[in-house]
């Protein structure tokens, strides 16, 4: 008799016989994550910049966006886009919902990251740029944002990692992503052990290199900052 253990070897063999299923899901997850990440960064930069502007209305809009999407569960947002909008007549494909839902949700977080990055650059630089005749768009584009990239990259990568994992909400709306395929295989074959371990491993393979890279990058930044502590008069002269 075969072992009844949920992790028994024969279950693994059975699962790897169906590897194409997991492959398709994995590919779908990567596609959704990549597009959602682009959307999140675009929205994040736009709303992050807006939320530091002097215009009250603009700041208000950014605030509403961030608070709304940060303080409601992604699951509800996605479920609403899937069923709510469909009832209202707008039927988006699950792929589009994945990109839009996860992208907009994480855009709110990225916006906060960008905002923190911008406010961490000293006001003196803005004043200096203004005194040189830079417009708002110009000093953001040429002075502030390039400097913030270094600061916000590590938290941004954390957002990217979270974004990848959050694409698994698609499983709930039959999104044919990795989690959905794992659920499907786990429940139809009853081999939930190998199925979830394998899916977990695939998510890990996507997220771990990103997270590691972010950590290394941050460490290097810190080292460089420490190394730069000895006062460099020439640099000071430029930024003042």
């Amino acid at each position: 008799m075969k072992s009844s253990n949920p992790f028994a070897l024969w279950r693994w063999e059975k699962m790897f016989g169906e590897w194409q299923m997991f492959g398709e899901g994995f590919l779908r997850t990567i596609e959704v994550a990549a597009l959602a990440l682009i959307l999140a960064v675009v929205l994040g930069v736009i709303f992050g910049v807006i939320s530091t502007s002097n215009n009250k209305v603009m700041r208000g809009i950014a605030r509403v966006y961030v608070e709304f999407f940060q303080n409601t569960p992604l699951v509800i947002q996605v479920f609403f886009m899937y069923n709510g909008l469909a009832i209202a007549g707008l039927r988006l494909s699950v792929f589009a919902i994945g990109v839009l839902g996860v992208g907009i949700y994480h855009g709110a977080y990225v916006s906060e990251v960008v905002k923190t990055g911008i406010t961490s650059i000293s006001v003196g630089q803005v004043e200096a740029a203004k005194s040189q005749g830079f417009t708002y768009i110009q000093y953001m584009r040429y002075v502030i944002l390039p400097q913030t990239i270094k600061i916000i990259l590590p938290p941004l990568t954390n957002q990217a990692v979270n974004l990848i994992k959050n694409t698994s909400v698609l499983a709930m709306i039959s999104g044919f992503d990795l989690m959905y395929m794992a659920d499907s295989w786990a429940s139809s074959s009853l081999d939930y052990g190998p199925s979830y371990v394998f899916a977990g491993l695939l998510y890990f393979m996507l997220c771990f290199p990103l997270a590691t890279w972010a950590r290394k990058y941050e460490e290097r930044l810190k080292r460089n900052d420490i190394a730069r502590v000895p006062f460099d008069p020439s640099e000071e002269a430029v930024t003042c």
């Binding site: 253990n5 009832i87 429940s187 139809s188 009853l190 290199p209």
Partner: protein
């Protein structure tokens, strides 16, 4: 890169070890199978049931209790095994959670519209079937479908872990049409998807479907591959399985189960 590989290797080892360790203990368990005694000793029968399937196991929102045909079977079993029809503890399960709950010992039995298949018998013990049902299709009236034959290229919503997908696929192939499937974790989610037009049909066992018919939907006359429900237990809990199987067979013979089926209106 070497570091990453070694980390992965260690992880792999941990999982294989985790897989091996319980295997050795279970074999020693089955040698002196005390599964029935364990239930008697605990004084309570722990059963996983559905709470979202009308007439089988549905939570009564007024009382907070789960009620239905399968819960009545739980009561009968509790009375036979423990002498008290209230000596049971129910755990709501879904198709996704029922397997793990049984494996990790949270519940002794699963009585949750669990369809018996040859393949599944490799993983769990099933009792003699206490109910037989065929898969049916629930569609929107306005869609104008008269049967599966009209549904070429349509999307059918099925429950994860349900055998309805294979059943419909087989019939569809015979009729020369193709349909695609979307799987959902719970029945209400499929109903929501049908209402919002995400799927064209809600496909699940006919008796379960009965609980989801409303003014805008109807059940098509098509019925596919009859499915049998059994009381499920862990593969190595042989004493418990045999006892349960004995009771179920007895109730099938003396008409007790038939009475319950009538009571819950499942003999349509």
């Amino acid at each position: 890169m070497k570091k990453v590989l070694s980390v992965l290797l260690v992880l792999g080892l941990v999982f294989t070890l985790a897989a091996c360790a319980p295997a050795s203990t279970t074999t020693s368990d089955s040698a002196a199978d005390g599964s029935l005694d364990a239930v008697v000793e605990a004084g309570v029968l722990r059963v996983g049931v559905k709470e979202d399937v009308p007439n089988f196991g549905l939570k009564n929102t007024a009382t907070g209790e789960i009620e239905g045909f399968e819960i009545d079977i739980v009561k009968l079993l509790a009375k036979e095994i423990l002498g008290d029809e209230n000596a049971y503890e129910l755990t709501p399960v879904t198709a996704k959670t029922r397997g793990p709950l049984l494996d990790n010992g949270e519940v002794d039995l699963i009585i949750a519209t669990f369809t018996i298949t040859e393949d599944r018998k490799l993983t769990y013990n099933f009792s003699t079937p206490y109910y037989e049902d065929a898969v049916g299709l629930l569609v929107k009236k306005e869609a104008g479908f008269t049967g599966l034959a009209d549904m070429d290229g349509k999307v059918i919503g099925v429950a994860q872990s349900a055998t309805s997908k294979e059943a419909v696929n087989k019939v569809a192939a015979e009729k020369g049409i193709t349909v695609s499937f979307s799987e959902y974790a719970t029945y209400p989610e499929i109903k929501a998807a049908l209402d919002s037009g995400r799927v064209d049909a809600f496909c699940v066992d006919g008796s379960i479907l009965g609980g989801y018919v409303d003014d805008s939907t109807m059940i098509l006359p098509d019925r596919f591959s009859p499915q049998e429900y059994g009381v499920t237990s862990k593969l190595d809990n042989i004493a418990l399985t045999e006892a349960v199987d004995g009771y179920i067979s007895g109730w099938l013979a003396d008409g007790t189960i038939e009475e319950l089926i009538t009571k819950w209106g499942l003999n349509y």
